[in-house]
């Protein structure tokens, strides 16, 4: 009788989750191609990976991405949540609009931002129009800037959801504490910093981890907007994985080894969050 209820899920997950997962661990130790086949080669993939400069460069870029986007999104979405946490007339419309990027398909957003970041795109036109710059900023055609330009897209899209989650947490914050602090003569900034924010610390950590895991998997932005270029300046871990294991590469074994390394990073992010959460609860 329970079989009727759990049978379908076991079939689907068995086929498309557990099998590939186990297979990833197996393939990582073979020289399989994406057409199949392959034989056991021990740790060769991992040795090769350890010496693969291109891979570690991609890892470095992905971590740079993390180092910028996570703090920015956390700070920005917390500020935005505090900003729209108001009953001012019309603010509900603002909230709906502000969260809307959350539901827009990332791939389409990326296509849109190609035009926005062009040398004669929206941002350059605005900056030129305001006479802030004389020459267009080469957002996408400079190895130094391209990765940061992609981060802008990630931040634009990512803030919506983080703000939504943070706002929900703010609405559960106790008002008594706030009022007590207010009676003690604490100003708004002071109250926000020492009364409100500590109460949503758990959520802030959660947002940070969610963003971290999402950014570790960043793919659509570089794939669509820069194709990993100029040169390899925007090649991320998943883009590298994609090239080795899917298009046009056919190194399923090697790609599986990359996948496992990626998995380790994700687990590390989850572990960090777990320890932070425990700390914040004690």
């Amino acid at each position: 009788m329970p079989l009727v209820f759990v049978g379908p899920v076991l079939i689907l997950q068995g086929t498309f989750l557990f099998t590939p997962l186990v297979n990833t661990f197996v393939l990582a130790f073979t020289d399989a191609s994406t057409v199949g086949g392959g034989s056991f080669i021990g740790l060769d993939n991992f040795t090769a990976l350890a010496n693969d400069g291109d891979f570690w460069a991609a890892v470095g870029r992905t971590f740079a991405y993390l180092a910028v986007t996570v703090p920015v999104i956390v700070v920005l979405s917390t500020s935005l949540a505090i900003l729209v946490n108001t009953s001012l007339r019309g603010s509900s419309v603002v909230r709906v609009l502000l969260f809307s990027p959350m539901v827009m398909p990332l791939a389409t957003i990326a296509v849109m931002f190609q035009f926005v970041l062009d040398s004669d795109g929206l941002i350059n036109e605005v900056l030129t129009g305001l006479q802030l710059i004389a020459e267009p900023v080469p957002f996408l055609s400079s190895s130094d800037l391209a990765l940061f330009s992609l981060m802008l897209v990630t931040i634009w899209k990512g803030c919506a959801l983080s703000t939504l989650i943070t706002l929900a947490a703010l609405q559960n914050v106790s008002e008594e504490l706030d009022e007590a602090a207010s009676l003690d003569g604490a100003g708004w900034l002071r109250r926000t910093w020492s009364v409100t924010l500590p109460q949503i610390r758990g959520t802030t950590i959660l947002v940070g981890v969610l963003v971290s895991i999402a950014v570790l998997r960043v793919f659509a932005e570089p794939y669509i907007i820069t194709g990993g270029g100029p040169g390899t300046s925007t090649e991320t871990i998943v883009l590298y994985l994609f090239q080795k294991g899917v298009s046009p590469g056919t190194q399923a074994g090697y790609a599986s080894a990359i996948s496992l390394v990626l998995f380790v990073f994700v687990l590390a992010a989850a572990a960090v969050s777990w320890s932070l959460t425990r700390r914040s609860r004690t």
Partner: protein, 431 residues
């Protein structure tokens, strides 16, 4: 750098040029044992085309009906596949030994089959009709000693010029640049005089520019990349110089979404080397620029060579009905049938007789007919570059990606090319 392929659908034929770049040939294909293709023409064969349906349904079905009428007892089963999946499907079919009896393939997809000696050598199987074809087309399908396919339809570029921009730069009446080196010089002048760009280099074009400058791209047996030569360094350095001065568009290396056609029709570049079929698109999108266009011969047609995109009709050695397959291949590529196809599309036939037809040789009355006759002339009299088979789309993408920082002036050209050579060799070795 991730390569994204080009739009599909009926446009594919017209876009062949955007895709493929120069023709190709491989110095070292095995010339395997000959197969006997003589025998009675009867029975059933399968015929596969690349993305001709539904636009050319009537044409293909008509050719098949004529063939079946001429050879009673034959049946031709036609199927059409998207060109995007051609490489994948052909590869899988070759492994499974289930290749169609007659295949329409572009040179890049044909190359691996030729390398593995899986297709009939047309030098012997079609010796009787070999002389009907334009030599350049035949050459572009020749791998080593063997000819892997009968030439079918072709495309070759013409040079479009924005005359207003040229006269603004004081270049009105000057002869066209003869090759890429001259194009670079002229672009610098245009940038200095007008602030606009001369041309937009592209991922697909780069291997061709380098070939025409004498860079071999790969070694003789296609196992190692050879792109770090003084000529290549000088050319990339000149591109970097142009990027700084504005002689090529600022977004050149990030122009994933703004192709060279787009910048030309926005009036931002003076020269565009592309297929004549693009004229219609430019006329629609930028009527003002269209008024300014004058046409010229493709770059390098006189000496180092121009590009050619060839579709060939190949027959696998493993076909169970070789006589009928070869007969159909000859029938399809005959002058009369090719001319009929060319008249209802923007491609060119590969036989001399068809190219001599009034359709191509008539006095030009507008840009489209002028483009047609320029291209036809360059097919019959010009020289074409033969691109090594291993220098395919993946090769082009990796090369382009590696030289981007050099074009931006961020790293020395030589270092970028050395890096390109290393990466490309890795790709070649993995094959």
């Amino acid at each position: 750098m991730v390569r994204r392929t080009v739009i599909s659908g009926p446009l594919a034929v017209a876009s062949a040029l955007a895709l493929a770049g120069c023709g190709l040939s491989d110095g070292s294909a095995p010339s395997g044992e000959q197969v006997d293709t003589s025998g009675e023409v009867t029975g059933t064969i399968t015929f596969q085309t690349l993305q001709l349906s539904p636009t050319f349904d009537d044409y293909i079905e008509g050719v098949i009906a004529d063939f079946e009428q001429q050879y009673p007892g034959t049946t031709v089963t036609w199927n059409d596949i998207p060109s995007d999946s051609a490489a994948r499907k052909t590869n899988a079919d070759a492994v499974a030994n289930s290749l169609p009896d007659v295949m329409d393939l572009d040179t890049a997809t044909l190359a691996p089959l030729a390398r593995k000696d899986l297709v009939v050598d047309m030098n012997t199987a079609a010796a009787d009709v070999k002389d009907d074809f334009v030599d350049t087309a035949w050459q572009s399908l020749t791998f080593g000693q063997a000819s892997a396919a009968l030439p079918w339809y072709l495309n070759t570029p013409i040079l479009m010029k924005n005359s207003e921009l040229l006269s603004e730069a004081g270049l009105a009446g000057e002869p066209d640049p003869a090759g890429y080196a001259e194009l670079v010089e002229v672009s610098a002048k245009i940038a200095a005089a007008t602030g606009k760009a001369g041309f937009q280099p592209t991922e697909i074009g780069l291997p061709c520019y380098l070939l025409s400058l004498g860079v071999p791209l790969v070694n003789d047996d296609g196992t190692k990349a050879v792109v770090n030569t003084p000529e290549a360094v000088a050319f990339i350095e000149s591109l970097a110089e142009l990027h700084r001065s504005g002689g090529i568009p600022a977004d050149t290396v990030s122009a994933q979404q703004r192709g060279e056609i787009e910048t030309f029709q926005e009036g931002k570049t003076a020269y565009l080397e592309t297929g004549g079929s693009r004229l219609k698109i430019i006329e629609e999108n930028a009527p003002a620029v269209y008024q300014q266009i004058t046409l010229g011969k493709p770059l390098g047609v006189a000496d180092e060579g121009t590009w050619l995109v060839t579709h060939g009709i190949a027959v696998p050695k493993a076909s169970e009905n070789l006589p009928t397959a070869v007969a159909f291949a000859k029938f399809l590529t005959s002058s009369a049938n090719q001319l009929a196809l060319a008249k209802q599309s923007s491609v060119f036939p590969s036989t001399t007789a068809a190219l001599d037809d009034a359709f191509f040789q008539a006095k030009p009355t507008d840009l489209v007919t002028e483009a047609r006759s320029i291209a036809a002339d360059s097919l019959t009299d010009g020289t074409t570059i033969v691109r090594p088979a291993s220098a395919d789309a993946e090769f082009a993408a990796a090369l382009w990606s590696a030289v981007q920082p050099a074009i931006l002036g961020e790293v020395p050209a030589e270092r970028a090319l050395a890096e390109a050579e290393r990466k490309l060799t890795t790709i070649l070795e993995a094959r």
